[in-house]
């Protein structure tokens, strides 16, 4: 049907994610990557469509043709989570975050959300955010608010969260090749449980 490149951070391992995508998008040649460097390389291979966050699409000169929505919105809230007291954006000195856009791009993205004062520690997987708090490398970690429950479930630390005022776009799809239109149709009909893993309730 076409080649789909997926660059998203989800709460399961890459192996399980790739398998869920394969089952949810039969006939689609899906490649899931989790690192910014791997995404840049895979993008050179001219996929037919790219599924990632709108901020990543924009950084690569791509526009969404299909957007994910949840609770009627194409944006979602992010939260700062710390051990002990709830961290405050604008005051937090160091923040752990997923590396979406490489060093400079991710620094800009995180500082827009939590303030320019923050030193940013990047990690490549959601599960790597917790060690940053466990070994006290950062004051807080930044992640989509919907994933805070996963963080809590994995730890016995006393975690406190604060949702941020600014929002971030939910996953979206860019049509980048001749097979793209068919892929957009397939993603629009993706099983609910797979879409939910991406934070999406419906595709428009």
């Amino acid at each position: 049907m076409g080649r789909l490149l997926v660059y998203l951070h989800v709460a399961v391992k890459q192996r399980a994610f790739q398998s869920l995508l394969g089952a949810g998008l039969p006939g689609v040649d899906t490649t899931a990557v989790g690192r910014a460097g791997d995404f840049e390389r895979a993008l050179q291979d001219a996929p037919d469509a790219v599924l990632t966050l709108p901020v990543v699409l924009a950084a690569n000169g791509l526009s969404p043709s299909l957007r994910g929505f949840a609770r009627g919105s194409q944006e979602e809230r992010y939260a700062l989570v710390g051990a002990g007291a709830a961290p405050e954006a604008g005051k937090v000195a160091s923040v752990g975050a997923l590396d979406l856009l490489g060093r400079e791009g991710t620094n800009r993205f995180v500082k827009r959300l939590v303030g320019a004062q923050a030193r940013v520690e990047r990690v490549t997987k959601i599960e790597d955010l917790l060690p940053l708090l466990q070994i006290q490398r950062v004051d807080a970690v930044l992640l989509p608010a919907r994933l805070v429950a996963e963080l809590r479930a994995a730890s016995r630390l006393t975690l406190a969260e604060r949702e941020l005022d600014l929002t971030v776009g939910l996953p979206a799809v860019a049509n980048t090749g001749p097979g793209g239109a068919a892929l957009l149709g397939a993603i629009g009909k993706m099983p609910r449980d797979v879409s939910k893993l991406l934070g999406v309730e419906e595709w428009r």
Binding site: A16, G37, R122, R137
Partner: protein, 343 residues
Amino acid sequence: MALTRRSFIAGVPALAGAALGCSSGQEERAGAGRDAVLFSTHSSKPGSKSILVCMPETRQTSEVWRGLSDELSRELELIALRIGGEDASATIARGIERYRPAGLVLMNNPTVDGYRRVQASAQQTAFPPSVIVMSSFLEGKPAHLRAATGISYEVPLITVVTNLRKLIATPIDRIGVVHRSSLSGFVRRQAALAHREQTAVVREEVSPKPNASEIKRALRRLKQRCDAIWVLNDDRLLTPRLLADGWLHGLNEPPWVPTIVGAASLVSPSQSFGTFAVLPDHTALGTQAANLVLDIADNDWQLPSATAQLPLSTTTTVDLTQAKERFLLRPSALAQVDKVLER
């Protein structure tokens, strides 16, 4: 399934070698000239500085290189030198002479030892800052090198336990560990860190050169009191003889407790030793090392801190055959593991 002693010993050299991969290095002769260059990258940034990466040629070091070069190659020139065999220090010395690097990255114990000899032979010389990775039991400030920092190779116990709790449904509160006295400081520091996640560590100290009976006795005592056994990557405790006659006997008898190891090769459905391996993610380790290099660059090529960091990212492997036979798994367990091995 327990192996016979003979079949286990036959399989053990590869297994033990992999377990101690951080200290072995590849035994190959390498010149110190252009033929020692494994990889190089060229930055488009004018006047960019050079980083000399000294590494043996293995799958793991190549993964570290990938993480490093993805992060650094736009801003810095990277030259990877192949290090191996007897002439590590000569290769490194000639590399420094030829490339005049602003910093070094040193991968594995023999490489670090080679660089230590380079520094020892030039006591009055100022050396560029260096970042050490894949070196066993690196903690605090590297005492044997000047201007060095690094990242520990051992996955912190707190991370190991967090991963195990995602897999096993029964409570994991007390972790048993067999260790020699020389590693008691390391174990105590790991225990203090793990305490933050409400994990208690029960220690069984063995002699500096233990025999198989000592290992078996220590394991039997721990298994009565602990919810899991954590096996350190200590080459003195993981000799083929001790693995076959001590560890395997001690672990493959009731009461069953999950065994966590630090080498993928110690998890095998046909050998029933480790239930679960938690290893550093080598590509992420390269990224972490790159960030240290960038911090040093931002600090005008002076070390901002010499204290070694802990590795942040891990990969996990489970022996599903053993885990299903002996333990209660969480429903979502397999979605939280990188590699599943099953007979």
